[in-house]
């Protein structure tokens, strides 16, 4: 039976990667979110490696004694996760680029419809009286101007 106690070095690397990942995921720029996602998924991949126990011989019958084999299942799962991460990263990059093409930035934008509802509520108007039809810009135009929580709000 192989040793299943986790290696401290790996655990530390996981901690660092996931911390970095969480921090970057909370950023507003999509490129940073992407980096955070990559860091975090690598951290989780390492977690699978830890879950599989210490490394042993190649898991091929006839070559290694079954007692000394490494567990191949986590490695298969890591491989699958890597493939998925790669695909999603490519998609995120394309989306960040498209966002830059359209708005000259790749920041995650606010939901303006929500803000309009909130503005209406703040003005204490009945929900069925739309006070916002005077807004002359479309949501798309509005959205392009918003950079952070309050930046583009014209109320």
């Amino acid at each position: 039976m192989i040793d299943t106690s986790p290696s401290l070095a790996l655990v530390l690397v996981i901690v660092v990667l996931v911390t970095v990942g969480v921090y970057l995921l909370l950023e507003r720029s999509l490129t940073r979110v992407l980096l955070g996602f990559v860091a975090m998924s690598n951290g989780i991949n390492l977690l699978f490696l830890v879950a599989g126990g210490a490394a042993g011989g190649a898991p091929i019958t006839g070559q290694t004694d079954p007692e000394d084999m490494s567990d191949p299942l986590p490695q298969f799962m890591i491989l699958t996760a890597i493939v998925l991460t790669l695909g999603i990263s490519a998609f995120l990059l394309a989306m960040a680029y498209r966002s830059w093409q359209l708005n000259r930035h790749d920041e995650v934008q606010d939901d303006l419809e929500d803000r309009r509802v909130a503005r209406r509520a703040a003005a204490d108007l009945a929900a069925f009286e739309d006070s916002d039809t005077e807004v002359t810009t479309t949501l798309d135009e509005d959205a392009a101007e918003v950079h952070d929580e309050m930046g583009g709000d014209r109320s």
């Binding site: 995921l25 979110v33 998924s41 699958t80 998925l84 999603i88 966002s99 359209l102 939901d111 929900a127």
Partner: protein
């Protein structure tokens, strides 16, 4: 084995049908992608593939009533290989979702024809849509936690593409939020799988059901909550639901419809499956009840505040997820059965409603309730098509929405706890508020004098027809409600007894029926499709 024997075997042992709902759309997606220049061929491939899926699901629905149909993929015995399990719950979900995806496909074909395919990159639509359908089927059929994750990723990757079709500013904005939130949920799910593997050394659901009760209760609770968190984001349960009403309405109508009908329900399915099979002692029930209460009430209040019909309907979607969670949290056979019935009802109704709202947008030229008006006179058929699923959603007797809610409320009263009774009250209030929100939409869009008279136009017949057929499907659930309710109760009974699931996958509680290398001398039972489910990425 002689040909007649094989034929007999294929009729008695239906395990060869189990992978079809995953394999057929996936291969069709590849084929459709290869034929990207020929949109006609793509359309035919998609329709044929989804029809096959529907037929296979119906076959399994009937077969699974006799007991779960299990296939060890590649003929590897269960805990080593991946297995696909079609039991009552999964086949019911599969059948409803197959019917809905087919209807939405026809609607989108009609829309494409009517618009002359302008502005939508149709070449990518069909393959992606098929991958989405395969992902949903894979998630429903999976008997393995990691394969469930792969199913989720397939449908999510496809949904990212569908949501951002065309790459307009608004869709990129909504897509960004949707993708990032989904990524977080996938990360949490993957983390949970890693920890579960570390704790138990397996990801096979049946084996987990045996091993999980043996580990430390504290660790069990952590794993349970991690899975709930991951699925809660996907199912849009209240504190985790803010992404949904923001991202769904921006997509094209058929895409929104299929997302609203299916994607959140896959999350609900995963919650039902893991809570009943892996954590049957119900330690998260109180938490789930509170979440259900908040989801119902906050969701419907959001709908009441909305002024845009698409967003209004999205908020009702969030709110009604609360009913399903309520049924799960009751942890009783009655509650669970009512919950499953409600899921099936809600898939058809919500999808139909979104398709009709797509037609409303087309006819009235807007989704804002202030700019719509007079549609009852302009398009009476559309008015009927909106009215029926809307009333069904609000739960007006005798429609299936009423039956599902009545079942849930009965189960809540039978439970009798103070929290359950509060939820019964909240359920009634939510139902009333749904009616209020829907009536508001109805008054403004259909009855008020149109502020701007929309240009006269005819709605494409095929679009109206496919929306109508979904509305009819919703109504027909009412007609067959009796037998269907019995079926869901039986499904709930199976779920409440995890032993049935375990024994059907691992007959001796250790090893599945597949043939692995050590016993390879035995002849396999039948010709099994041997290609395991491969994940396909966009």
């Amino acid at each position: 084995m002689t040909p007649p024997d094989l034929l007999w075997l294929s009729l008695t042992d239906l395990s060869w049908v189990v992978p079809l709902p995953v394999l057929v759309p996936l291969s069709a997606a590849g084929l459709a992608l290869a034929l990207w220049r020929h949109s006609k061929a793509q359309q035919i491939i998609s329709v044929v593939a989804l029809t096959v899926v529907l037929l296979a699901s119906l076959t399994l629905l009937i077969a699974a009533d006799q007991g779960p149909v299990v296939l060890d993929v590649g003929n590897w015995a269960a805990p080593v290989g991946i297995d696909l399990v079609a039991d009552r719950l999964s086949t019911l979900m599969l059948t409803v979702s197959a019917a809905v995806t087919l209807c939405v496909l026809i609607y989108s074909l009609a829309q494409g024809l009517a618009d002359g395919n302008r502005g939508t990159p149709v070449a990518i639509f069909h393959p992606t849509y098929l991958v989405l359908s395969a992902g949903v089927a894979n998630a429903f059929l999976s008997g393995d936690l990691f394969n469930l994750y792969v199913g989720f990723e397939m449908l999510l990757a496809a949904s990212y593409v569908l949501l951002t079709l065309g790459g307009t500013g608004e869709r990129i904005r909504a897509g960004t939020i949707y993708v990032v939130v989904s990524l977080v949920s996938s990360m949490v799910f993957l983390l949970a799988i890693g920890l579960i593997y570390a704790a138990t050394g397996t990801v096979n659901l049946a084996q987990l059901a045996i091993r999980l009760p043996e580990i430390d209760p504290g660790v069990q609770l952590v794993l349970q909550l991690l899975l709930l968190l991951a699925f809660g984001i996907k199912a849009a349960i209240f504190p985790l639901s803010a992404w949904l009403p923001d991202s769904y309405p921006t997509a094209p109508a058929p895409v929104t419809a299929v997302f609203a009908g299916l994607l959140t329900k896959v999350g609900v399915y995963a919650i039902i499956r893991t809570q009943t099979l892996l954590f049957p002692d119900g330690r998260a029930d109180t938490l789930l009840m509170v979440a259900a209460l908040l989801t119902m009430v906050v969701g419907i209040l959001g709908a009441v505040a909305q002024n845009d019909i698409k967003r209004l309907v999205s908020f009702t979607l969030v709110s009604h997820i609360g009913y399903m969670i309520f049924g799960i949290a009751l942890s009783s056979e009655q509650g669970l059965g009512a919950s499953i019935f409600y899921v099936a009802h809600h898939i058809t109704v919500q999808t139909a409603l979104f398709l009709v709202v797509g037609l409303v947008e087309r006819r009235g030229g807007s989704t804002s309730l202030d700019q719509l008006g007079g549609l009852a006179k302009l398009a009476p058929v559309l008015a009927v098509l909106f009215f029926v699923p809307a009333m069904n959603l609000a739960g007006i007797p005798p429609l299936s929405g009423f039956l599902g809610k009545a079942g849930l409320l009965q189960a809540g009263v039978a439970d009798g706890g103070p929290l359950a009774l509060t939820l019964v009250g909240a359920g009634v209030v939510t139902s009333l508020l749904t009616l209020y929100a829907i009536v508001k939409a109805w008054n403004k869009a259909f009855w008020q004098v149109a502020p701007v008279e929309p240009a006269p136009m005819r709605l494409p017949r095929a679009m109206v027809g496919s929306a109508a057929s979904l509305v009819l499907l919703g109504v027909s659930i009412t007609v067959v409600a009796g037998p269907m309710y019995d079926y869901t109760q039986r499904a709930a009974a199976t779920l409440r007894d995890p032993d049935q699931y375990i024994v059907s996958v691992l007959p001796d509680r250790a090893r599945g029926a597949g043939v692995s290398s050590e016993v390879a001398e035995d002849t396999p039972d039948s010709e099994l499709p041997d290609e395991p489910v491969e994940e396909e990425d966009e």
